[in-house]
């Protein structure tokens, strides 16, 4: 909580490289992410965005390089020197992961309340009324009507499912949230509402976030910093406005002028 703490990065990527056999997924990605900072990762299909996100969130092990995460006690810890239970615990408490496909991020057969409450129960909450109270509160925060708490996400629209996914992830007050195309596949008006909500919550909770997106408008709206990937490599990075307004790399210039299908 001291000033010194917050000067340390929350997450450090150091030479992250992943090969799928001989196929390159992502090469030599290095950057730092600070508390409350939102980083966008953009690039064409197959450029390595999801690979990078999975490396950062400890879902796949890097071929080389490492990820350091500053734990709540302040110690920067290498993800892969941690025990598996510790990594999974981190994933369920201090982190969130919002998938493009809500079916991957939700339990479709479980009520909205159960979906939001799961993380609380996983960390030992054993009072039904308390769990339900917090779930109700979170549904309100993501603009889902309270009376839908006992319905399963099967009965929800695409936008509601995404908002439910967000509530389910944020209920443990994580410090870092990973999002892979959170607005992909949604109607434009639904996207706008979701982005609005995300922006508000991220700033209210001072969340750090890494957002993978095809959509430069999403990057512009949500992120402070941006990384542009091509062929598995980060080719340009910097403050979002600067990179998008004044791109240096020819590829980024094409991307921004939307000549390339991003």
């Amino acid at each position: 909580m001291s000033a010194l703490d917050t000067e340390e990065p929350l997450l450090v990527a150091d030479g992250l490289t992943k090969y799928y056999g001989r196929q390159l997924g992502c090469r030599d990605a290095s950057f730092e992410l600070y508390e409350g900072e939102v980083m966008a990762v953009v690039g064409e299909s197959g450029s390595g965005k999801s690979t990078l996100l999975q490396l950062l969130s400890g879902q796949i092990e890097p071929t080389s390089g490492r990820v350091l995460y500053r734990m709540r006690d302040g110690a920067a810890t290498d993800l892969w020197s941690m025990s598996e239970p510790m990594r999974r615990f981190l994933y369920r408490t201090d982190w969130g992961f919002v998938h493009q496909d809500p079916q991957r991020g939700l339990r479709m057969g479980v009520s909205a309340g159960g979906n939001v409450g799961e993380r609380l129960m996983a960390v030992g909450w054993r009072n039904y009324a308390d769990i339900r109270g917090v779930a109700t509160d979170w549904l309100g925060r993501v603009e889902i009507p309270e009376d839908r708490i006992d319905d399963t996400p099967r009965t929800y629209s695409g936008g509601m499912r995404q908002r439910l996914q967000i509530a389910r992830n944020l209920v443990t007050s994580p410090r870092l949230i990973f999002m892979d195309e959170p607005t992909g596949g949604l109607d434009v008006s639904v996207q706008a509402r979701l982005l609005d909500l995300l922006r508000r919550i991220v700033s209210e909770m001072r969340l750090a976030a890494i957002v993978v997106t095809h959509d430069l408008a999403v990057a512009r709206l949500l992120s402070n910093r941006i990384m542009v990937m091509k062929g598995g490599t980060v080719i340009e990075s910097g403050l979002t406005d600067q990179v998008l307004d004044d791109p240096h790399e020819p590829y980024t210039q094409l991307l921004v002028s939307s000549i390339l299908p991003a």
Binding site: G113, Y128, D150
Partner: protein, 293 residues
Amino acid sequence: MTAPAYNFAYLDEQTKRMIRRAILKAIAIPGYQVPFASREMPMPYGWGTGGVQVTAAILGPNDVLKVIDQGSDDTTNAVSIRKFFVKTAGVKTTTTTTEATVIQTRHRIPETPLGDHQVLVYQVPIPEPLRFLEPRETETRRMHALSEYGLMHVKLYEDISRHGHIATAYAYPVKVDDRYVMDPSPIPKFDNPKMNDCPALQLFGAGREKRIYAIPPYTQVVSLDFEDHPFEPYRHDASCELCGATDSYLDEVITDDRGTRMFVCSDTDYCGTRRAMGHGTAAEDTEAAHDDR
């Protein structure tokens, strides 16, 4: 050479040794599901081939076997399994709980408290308590390994949100020895407390799913619940119309074609023993009914 058609208790010694190894491992890790190479038995899976294989592996010539199905010794299923072991092992059988050394059961635990000279063998259809919410076997195994059991409470949460209370009445999940969450097979939750600190060895066999698990004698078994929705064993608020028992698990049976119902003990041996001791007179019935909450 005139070899018998089959070995003692049907299974060959090699198979029995394999099953015993699985049983020993199961006893060493209470509540943990041990895979075993389940064999074809001369009966359908629904008949409890997992339980039958466990019984076959532990049975000795001096054992006295009791087989119950939903508390009763004389359903087709119970009679067939008993006959099977009479024929293949020549063991003595009984319907009296106290006389038995091995009791194979489907869906009930006897009312008469078990002793440390007894083994209770459960027939299990679905051994994995987490399957309801997580169908991936690799994931449920990891959850057990890491004691990640939040999902079990999600199941109970769903119950309460739908029904206002924990409506799970059978196969109510338990935590064994403060470590593994276990499905006790489809016994009524009324029976759950009997598993706790039980002097008898409890063995569980799932034939189709090829799993064996165990609760060693005197092991802590706790039914999962919430602070504000504590576990409650359920029984019909009535007494047995045959023996007057107010403490036993009751079945509701229809006695004629006009839909007349009555409550009777599901454990036929318990009921019969009480009646033989003179319980179940009209006077006691009313007295018992008054005792009832």
